[in-house]
């Protein structure tokens, strides 16, 4: 441990402080080494790595407080390094000494290289830490840079990277975003704690010719630094809330592949600006309860959640009630039962169990759903809800569709017009007619359009079209650069189909690749959210007509996490149970006892802090509103003592105001309490303070106080600690 004889370690308090900082530093070094070991897969055993490094922290501290100068230190390190290299070279030069052609020793030396490197870096940085004040700042910066690098894999909304984030989120039942925020908060806390300790005025420094701390001039107290950290924490929390909100809005509404979860008539869940945000975040586990060999879209499968058929002049939106009756638009916990039709041409019954991993406003299933029934959640820690859907799924062959007509003879003219309502821009119909000149049947025409778009469209997540408010967001794609994603494709196709007299609408939900399924279990991700066009074929119903562009500029496609899928498969108990329909009481009881979210807790804390800051500001600024010079001088004096209190300078028990003034003047080297005599006179004197006296005294005090660094003034001004003191009745 440090030499007691060093002048900086004369008091027991300072020695204790050194012990605390050494411990904290050991923790930091251990954390950094373990993180590095995990991130770059360092195969050196943790113990072998940690023990020398922690010893280096202790040794570095000891050497720092010794008489060894910088030159001597460099020599020491160099001698040690050269000795190691020489020994290594010697041993490796004579292989026969060390067991012939064995490589074991080489392996050992590679581990030793790592250990020695870690040891030297830790040792040198520790010595420097104690001898130069800038090292703490440099370390804090390096630490921040490391954190940024570690989390930079999350760019472009890939919140599930690295895999550890996903694993930890699953283990604790959190979203990847929450895990990220918690990690970032933890890192920030460590950073602030370390930085505060390292820059504390009580921290000894091994070089006597250097000023002690960054607070050397003002000698700010622990309280004022805690005020800085509180403000930093509040700022971080507020920023975190903002980021959280933004990501949530992005992920939950419009930016999950451009397909959100809006379910109100007249609105659209689709976004035209960008399909970024297509994360690998698991959305649901779907289990097929039987073979579905008739799937005409194999290996792809469409799971419909909603449908859009109402053209509002700009885009296609959700139609009012009465249209799209095949789409139940029910919440996942709502039961639903339709009578199965007798005519099942081109359809087959498929049962699916859906286990939701993310919140969904609407239930989804293969079209057409006949029944939804709630399932008992097999693992509430993992799954949000579970339900079983029975669907009359497509079982036709795509080749046979050409012979069919489009539309439903039972539709009223109004309904038919609804599904045929064309776009006002005549270019859509012109293009549609031009592309389908050679085709006779409606289906053949539709297929020609699909073929054309497949060949000429460029799939991109970021089309970057500049569209004015109220303008058509699809035209820049179809009549422009042909770059877009599913939302653009679906709209363009529906406009052209309708122009040809083919009833069409947009389906939304999930499109999944069954070749990534296992045992009929499909892990849906947010990146599987999709929008597609549908045509009504007589006798068969709504059939997806979708694009698969041949040119891809950017794509969010990632492979399914099979580890996760296997884990989830193991959680579904065979003894699953269908629950009765929920009653109204269930819903109310759920609504009465909401679980406070992290979001709301943070908002309450932030609100309290803001109130405290407001109170503080009032006490600091009220002297401006004083009605008399007497009161003004009293309030001014209280203002100054309040600000001094933020710097830890409070009147001690039994200390008179004059003694307090003297002490403060001695400590700070200037006199911020020059108004003390006037204050005493205003309180206890016989004569009142005049207007001129009060103004003069305040002016001279202000010039002294304004000489402090700006950041310190801001911190002491905004720190909520003073408000707490006032509220707790402490005398000013």
């Amino acid at each position: 441990m440090p030499a007691v004889s060093h002048p900086q370690l004369s008091s027991p308090q300072q020695r204790r402080f050194v012990v605390v900082v050494v411990l904290l530093r050991c923790l930091l070094v251990a954390g950094v080494l373990m993180t590095l070991r995990w991130v770059i897969n360092l195969s050196t055993p943790a113990v072998l790595l940690l023990i020398p490094s922690l010893l280096a922290v202790l040794g570095g501290t000891r050497i720092a407080f010794s008489r060894l100068r910088g030159r001597g230190l460099v020599m020491l390190v160099m001698i040690a390094a050269v000795a190691y290299v020489a020994l290594k070279s010697l041993l490796l030069s004579f292989p026969r000494w060390i067991g012939g052609g064995s490589f074991q020793l080489l392996d050992l030396f590679w581990h030793l290289d790592t250990i020695v490197t870690a040891l030297i870096i830790t040792f040198l940085s520790t010595v420097l830490f104690w001898r130069a004040r800038w090292v703490a700042t440099a370390e804090a910066l390096l630490f921040s840079a490391g954190c940024i690098t570690l989390f930079s894999t999350h760019r472009n909304f890939r919140l599930d990277l690295p895999r550890a984030i996903n694993d930890i989120s699953w283990y604790f039942g959190l979203t990847p975003l929450s895990t990220l925020i918690i990690f970032a908060g933890g890192c920030l806390t460590i950073l602030i704690a370390y930085f505060l300790c390292a820059s504390s005025p009580k921290r000894p420094i091994a070089r006597l010719d250097l000023p002690l701390t960054i607070f050397a001039r003002t000698r700010a107290s622990r309280l004022s630094t805690s005020a800085v950290s509180a403000i930093a924490a509040v700022t971080a929390v507020m920023l975190g809330i903002q980021v959280y909100r933004q990501y949530n809005i992005a992920a939950g509404s419009r930016l999950a592949n451009g397909v959100g979860q809006e379910d109100s008539a007249g609105l659209s869940p689709l976004g035209f600006h960008s399909a970024l945000g297509s994360t690998n975040q698991p959305a649901a586990l779907v289990r097929l309860e039987g073979d579905y060999s008739e799937n005409p879209f194999s290996p792809m499968m469409y799971l419909r959640e909603g449908a859009l058929s109402d053209f509002n002049g700009t885009e296609i939106v959700i139609a009012k009630e009465g249209y799209d009756p095949d789409v139940p638009r029910l919440m996942p916990e709502q039961a639903f039962d339709l009578e199965a039709p007798n005519d099942r041409t081109g359809r087959t019954e498929v049962v699916q169990s859906v286990y939701l991993l993310a919140d969904h406003k609407l239930a989804f299933a293969l079209d057409y759903p006949l029944r939804y029934a709630r399932l008992k959640n097999p693992n509430p820690g993992r799954f949000k809800r579970a339900y079983r859907a029975v669907s009359l799924a497509p079982a036709f062959t795509l080749a046979a569709l050409e012979a069919f007509e489009v539309g439903d003879p039972s539709w009223t003219p109004e309904v038919l017009q609804h599904y045929l309502e064309p776009h006002s821009d005549s270019r859509y119909s012109e293009m549609a007619f031009r592309l389908t000149e050679d085709a006779a049947s409606p289906i053949a025409k539709a297929q020609l359009i699909v073929e054309y778009l497949n060949a000429n469209t460029i799939y991109t997540l970021t089309p970057k079209h500049e569209v004015e408010k109220g303008a058509d967001p699809v035209a820049p794609y179809l009549f422009g650069d042909m770059r877009g994603y599913c939302v653009h494709f679906a709209h363009a196709m529906v406009y052209m189909f309708r122009a040809l007299g083919i009833p069409a609408r947009i389906g939304t939900g999930y499109l999944t690749d069954l070749s990534q399924a296992r045992d009929g279990h499909i892990l849906l991700r947010m990146s599987d959210r999709h929008a597609w066009s549908e045509i009504y074929i007589t006798g068969i119903g709504w059939v997806p007509f979708d694009l698969q562009p041949q040119q891809v500029e950017s794509h969010a496609d990632t492979e399914v996490d099979m580890h996760l899928l296997e884990e989830l498969m193991g959680m579904i108990d065979p003894a699953e149970e269908i629950l009765p329909r929920p009653t109204g009481d269930d819903r109310e009881s759920e609504a009465q006892w909401p679980v406070p979210s992290l979001d709301s807790i943070l908002i309450v804390i932030a609100g309290c802090l803001l109130v405290l800051v407001a109170i503080k500001v009032w006490f600091v600024e009220r002297w401006r509103f004083a009605s008399s010079p007497n009161r003004r001088i009293r309030w001014w004096y209280q203002r100054v003592t309040l600000l001094l209190g933020e710097m830890g300078m409070v009147r001690a028990f039994g200390e008179t105001r004059s003694e307090f003034r003297e002490r403060i003047s001695r400590t700070l080297g200037y006199d911020p309490l020059s108004t003390t005599p006037l204050f005493l006179r205003s309180c206890y004197g016989r004569s009142l303070v005049s207007e001129a006296e009060s103004r003069h005294a305040i002016r001279s005090d202000r010039s002294i106080l304004d000489a402090r660094p700006r950041w310190l003034r801001i911190c002491t001004y905004l720190s909520p600690g003073g408000a707490l003191r006032v509220l707790m009745g402490k005398p000013l």
């Binding site: 770059i40 195969s43 490796l92 309860e289 045992d519 580890h563 498969m569 065979p574 003894a575």
Partner: protein, 636 residues
């Protein structure tokens, strides 16, 4: 897998059918004739709701559905049976078998079979059993458990279960082969050979036992006897007709041929194996074939081999290929790397590293695969760094960006090499894979010298010397000497290295050692000045063999530039082309300016290379495009 399926399915079907018929008869008080096939449809009334059926009926239906390959329907019936009777033994057993054979989800299989074992003991008490049916069922459970543990790479557990199996006096013809295989995985080769030989004498399943014996003998260095044994196994399996599985011994014999450097015979064996129905779905013959073609720089053949394999596996709807994805990605990554598609190679190899692979049924293990992937990843990162260094840029910001990315990839390459060496030396018995063994190693031996460059020459010489005494294969000796030559040329006694390089080059075989030849030439190129005549000759030779490798190793192709405008030379400074002043160069770049665009032409005097013509307005973009056109091979 399919072997196990074939063995399990009839057994389970028979067991279930008999069990259900007898039980239903007892329940309904009906007298059913078990030999009357017309009684069964009465039990399997499709119009009847599943809710009204008994668990036994559901299990029986599931057995028929499985036979009919309606696997998900069968699985659902079994789950329904379990919902009705959570202690239904046969439903558990069938689900365990289903997850083991058809899905490959071994942990789930283990859960169901372990539960089946508990139910069995609850219902019948602890062993030993005297009843023949009980003995049969109990032995079957133990067999399933041992297979699952083997698949989960729990070899000790699997052996314990086999010990328990034999301790109750059970015996089956599969037993010696299974036991020998597990012993092999535990590294007990001699004991495994003894078990297999005794098994053959005791009438064990001939095909399986002979096959494992062949593998064991080959691992023990007795290649000649191994080949003889495999020949018997192949003949036997072919004699079994459609029940036979000749692909496995064919693949194994191919591996032995490869180890004996009889590449043509190896290729023939693997081609035969992959053309058989039971061989096309197994990754190993296709993988071996692809790796063989890679060594011969036949990249289209290698791609085709992997394409064929994946097309074959796509026939099985319930399996998504997860169990072999790491191996497939490794092969794809290596093909992409040698084809000059470095980004694709990095993606594939990173994916291979992230994938889990079960090793119970293949000869290699986790460390072998990890080391092989790490070596290839190091090469891919090195290639990417070189590619970025030789990318023309349009401004200093882009140049800086490329430099930073390049530094990152170089650091990654160094780090992966270091990790690979640590795995090979630390976890793989002092780099035992340095001795060429294609049976259990996935290393790319022709390019392994790159990994050995950082080892002190004295150390490597000592080791290679020992290996040359021990390993009598002349072709292997050439490879070992090439490692030493590369090591010496890269940092040791260069003169000695060059001398050894000359010797090795003279001993290389055409076609079979093409990758090794290119790799050595690339090493030699590092020692030469790009303007020297020898550099130009060697670069031209490499261009003919594997032109992407020139760029991947950071070398530049000497070209004569015909550019009246003089603007091209500065752009070529950051490109894989080295302008030279020579009238005898094999490669020419011509640049012409038309009205408002440039026309660029790259031509070669070498055979098998078509002239590349480009037109554009941005010279930087054109040079980069030309680099890609020249130094990339198409990926099929």
């Amino acid at each position: 897998m399919s072997c196990l399926a074939k063995r399990l399915s009839p057994f389970l079907l028979l067991l279930c059918t008999l069990g259900v018929i007898v039980r239903s008869a007892a329940l309904h008080g009906q007298v059913l004739d078990p030999f009357d096939p017309f009684d069964i449809p009465q039990l399997l009334d499709p119009s009847q709701n599943d809710e009204e059926k008994s668990p036994d009926e559901l299990v029986l239906e599931a057995a028929f559905l499985m036979e009919d390959k309606r696997l998900l329907d069968a699985r659902t019936k079994l789950l329904k049976a379990l919902r009705k009777d959570p202690a239904h033994l046969r439903a558990h057993l069938m689900l365990g078998g289903y997850y083991l054979v058809h899905v490959g989800h071994f942990r789930l299989a283990l859960r169901y079979v372990t539960r089946a074992q508990e139910i069995f003991v609850e219902q019948n008490g602890p062993p030993p059993y005297t009843d023949t049916i009980l003995k049969s069922e109990h032995s079957h459970i133990l067999y399933l458990l041992s297979q699952i543990n083997l698949d989960l790479d729990k070899y000790e557990e699997a052996l314990k279960l086999l010990d328990e199996y034999s301790s109750w006096g059970y015996y089956a013809t599969w037993y010696p082969a299974s036991r020998a295989w597990i012993l092999m995985k535990l590294g007990k080769l001699d004991e495994a050979i003894r078990v297999a030989r005794l098994g053959l004498l005791a009438g064990a399943d001939f095909g399986r036992t002979v096959n494992i014996l062949g593998i064991l003998l080959s691992m023990n260095g007795n290649s000649k006897e191994a080949l003889d044994i495999f020949r018997q196994a192949i003949e036997y399996e072919f004699s079994q007709g459609i029940q036979g599985q000749p692909a496995t011994p064919l693949n194994n014999s191919g591996e032995v041929y490869k180890e004996a450097f009889l590449e043509e015979k190896a290729e023939s064996s693997w081609l035969r194996a992959t053309s058989l129905p039971d061989g096309c779905e197994h990754v190993l013959p296709s993988l071996n074939l692809a790796l063989l073609y890679i060594e011969q720089l036949n990249l289209s053949g290698a791609t085709q081999a992997m394409n064929n394999f994946e097309s074959c596996v796509a026939q099985y709807p319930l399996r998504n290929g997860e169990e072999h994805r790491a191996l497939v990605k490794l092969a794809r990554g290596r093909i992409a790397l040698l084809s000059g598609h470095i980004g694709t190679a990095l993606d594939a190899l990173n994916d291979a590293l992230a994938r889990r692979q079960w090793f119970g049924k293949i000869g290699t293990n986790q460390e072998d695969l990890e080391a092989a992937i790490l070596v290839s990843l190091a090469q891919a990162n090195r290639a990417m760094a070189n590619l970025l260094d030789q990318r023309a840029t349009s401004g200093p910001l882009e140049t800086l960006q490329h430099m930073l990315q390049s530094a990152h990839h170089r650091l990654a390459a160094w780090w992966y090499r270091r990790r690979a060496r640590q795995v090979l030396m630390g976890r793989l018995n002092d780099f035992e894979d340095l001795e060429i063994r294609n049976t259990d190693s996935l290393l790319e031996y022709p390019t392994l010298g790159e990994l050995l460059r950082d080892i002190p020459s004295s150390h490597l010489s000592q080791r290679i010397g020992d290996m040359l005494i021990r390993d009598k294969r002349p072709e292997a000796a050439v490879v070992y000497r090439s490692y030493l030559a590369e090591n010496l040329m890269a940092g040791g006694d260069r003169a000695k290295g060059i001398e050894l390089f000359g010797n090795v080059m003279a001993s290389l075989r055409p076609r079979f050692d093409d990758l090794l030849r290119v790799h050595l030439l690339l090493t030699r190129l590092e020692m030469l000045s790009p303007t020297s005549a020898e550099y130009q000759t060697i670069a031209g030779d490499i261009f003919s063999y594997a032109r992407p490798e020139l760029r991947s190793h950071g070398h530049r192709l000497p070209v004569v530039v015909e550019d009246p405008s003089g603007e091209l030379t500065s752009v070529l400074a950051r490109s894989p082309f080295q302008p030279i002043d020579s009238s005898e160069a094999d490669f020419i770049i011509k640049l012409q300016k038309t009205d408002d665009s440039w026309r660029m032409e790259f031509s070669s005097l070498r055979k098998n290379f078509a002239t590349v013509r480009l037109q554009g307005t941005d010279l930087v973009e054109m040079v980069n495009k030309l680099s890609d056109e020249v130094f990339q091979l198409p990926l099929i």
